[in-house]
């Protein structure tokens, strides 16, 4: 099974759930910007939830499959394929994903996964360092991706109950827990409305529209660990929300951290979209994370019946 790339799309990369365990060498976690969408797209085609998929950005790819298989798209809604439901594709058929209509990142899972080499425990592409995924880079026109032949019977008579999806449509507000330097910015983080800047990428989402000013002496901080979700504020006052390919250490003040279950909402915001932040406690954030795992576990069980 091969997947022929007719058009690579704007930024299409192979991603699985990332490469934990290498942050001490400075290697980012990586993986999907929207991990919920990647995991669910995989479950929809009968894959393990950490199987490698294609992360498509704003303008999707055009692909030809060399064998019959099952595909599913999670996350953003793209022209050309309904999201959150599996589809049987036949040998030689062409899939053309157009522009993203809602959200910005779609996860195209293919039964069996994208069979690229494992680098440091993961198939995720880390474009900035040029390793992982397909030749360490985004897909280009003419690439041929190694897929996996599926021998089981292919059916697709189900779709996701939209009630289990994150509140993508209400993404105007994203929840955070406080950061170590929150007080130094007064209440400005929660009062302001920010705009997603076009310079945003897989490393960080850059925010404009309002500035955060540090009250009192702006002492230089010694670098320490940062995480996807950390809202760091450089001296120019324009916050950056660190995302999947975030650096492992940083030295800018941290106003807050987007909670795990809301990172997918952040990932789906588009340049020009507006966002506000609301504070929750660590305990609330971790309860929400647990509930999210529970939902995915139930979905896993339910779908396992169908693939039996």
């Amino acid at each position: 099974m091969e997947i022929n790339v007719i058009r690579g799309g704007m930024l299409t990369t192979v991603q699985d759930l990332g490469r934990p365990g290498h942050r001490s060498a400075g290697v980012p976690l990586g993986g999907p910007m929207d991990s919920f969408a990647l995991r669910v797209a995989n479950l929809l085609v009968g894959n393990a939830e950490d199987t490698a998929v294609l992360e498509c950005t704003l303008l999707g790819p055009e692909l030809v499959f060399s064998a019959d298989t099952l595909i599913a798209l999670g996350g953003a809604e793209f022209e050309g394929l309904a999201a959150w439901q599996p589809k049987v594709v036949t040998a030689g058929s062409r899939l053309k994903l157009g522009a993203a209509r809602k959200g910005s990142r779609g996860y195209l899972a293919v039964a069996g996964g994208i069979d690229v080499p494992v680098v440091m425990g993961s198939r995720s592409t880390y474009v900035r360092a040029g390793f992982g995924g397909f030749q360490g880079r985004a897909l280009r026109d003419g690439d041929v991706l190694p897929g996996v032949d599926v021998t089981r019977h292919l059916t697709n008579h189900w779709r996701i109950d939209p009630r289990i999806l994150p509140g993508y449509a209400e993404a105007g507000t994203v929840r955070v827990v406080r950061g170590a330097q929150l007080e130094e910015f007064g209440g400005a983080l929660f009062a302001a409305e920010f705009k997603i800047l076009p310079q945003s990428d897989r490393m960080g989402i850059r925010l404009g529209g309002a500035k955060l000013t540090r009250i009192g002496g702006a002492a230089e901080l010694v670098s320490a660990a940062v995480a996807p979700g950390s809202v760091q504020v450089p001296p120019d006052g324009q916050p950056i929300v660190l995302m999947a390919d975030a650096q492992t250490l940083g030295g800018y003040p941290q106003a807050a951290h987007v909670i795990s279950v809301d990172l997918p909402l952040m990932a789906q915001l588009r340049p020009g979209d507006r966002v506000k932040f609301a504070e929750v406690t660590l305990e609330q954030a971790q309860k929400l994370a647990y509930d999210r795992e529970h939902v995915i576990a139930l979905l896993h069980e339910g779908l396992a019946q169908k693939f039996r």
Partner: protein
């Protein structure tokens, strides 16, 4: 030893403050003790200067008491019982010394004149001071193989740029506050760039992909732009 939360997925263990060579053996020791047997749900241990940060997956540690954050703090406390004896061992074992050639200034170091102006020194004095000092690797991070070096002469301390550059070339040698280091890859970065090395600081295919390890000693050596070009 104090604990604090880094979002809902990590605990920061603080063992000291600032840039302090005396704290480094304790940082290395706690990293070793934690890494020896990570339980399921705890995924990464990241040492840096005076902190060790422990990453975990809150959704996989259960919803019952103790909460995920408290569970991880308990695990760290348990591992830290032998911290003092392990730190003594780390102090006794010295690191390697690695030489790094640097082409200072010009197109390789666009911020060298700004650093000189800020420090009230000539460009030549900045180069001489930077290359003369002995450095110690306090942390690897920010980007694959990026080493944070302690030992920058206080006279060379310069604040980060007010707006980070969107792209800094691989091999760039920078100053950020009281820290100095080498960018192993082309990444965005906020440090003042004073030069560039032709050495590869990170090779993902290698068994040990990062050129430097925490605890290594580093010496910079000035080379000409021509030597830089000939290096490859």
């Amino acid at each position: 030893m104090t604990f604090s939360a880094l979002g809902d997925t990590a605990v920061v263990v603080t063992l000291g403050s600032g840039i302090d060579e005396a704290v480094l053996p304790r940082v290395r020791a706690l990293t070793t003790l934690l890494g020896a047997n990570l339980p399921p749900g705890i995924v990464d241990v990241v040492p840096a200067y005076a902190t060790v940060t422990v990453f975990y997956e809150p959704g996989r540690l259960g919803a019952n008491r103790p909460r995920p954050y408290e569970q991880v703090c308990q695990f760290i406390t348990e591992c830290a019982r032998h911290l003092d004896s392990e730190a003594k061992k780390k102090t006794a074992t010295g690191g390697r010394t690695i030489g790094i050639p640097v082409s200072y200034g010009g197109e390789h170091g666009p911020d060298l004149t700004e650093v000189a102006r800020h420090c009230g020194l000539s460009v030549t004095e900045v180069m001489a001071l930077h290359a003369k000092a002995d450095y110690l690797v306090h942390a690897i991070g920010f980007a694959p193989g990026f080493s944070y070096l302690g030992g920058l002469p206080a006279k060379l301390s310069t604040p980060r740029r007010s707006t980070p550059r969107v792209s800094v070339p691989a091999g760039s040698v920078g100053i950020g506050g009281a820290q100095t280091g080498v960018y192993p890859l082309s990444t965005p970065g906020g440090w003042q760039i004073i030069g560039r090395t032709p050495l590869a600081m990170f090779r993902p295919g290698d068994a040990e992909p990062a050129l430097l390890r925490v605890g290594d000693k580093v010496k910079f050596r000035a080379i000409t732009p021509e030597e830089f070009t000939r290096w490859k």
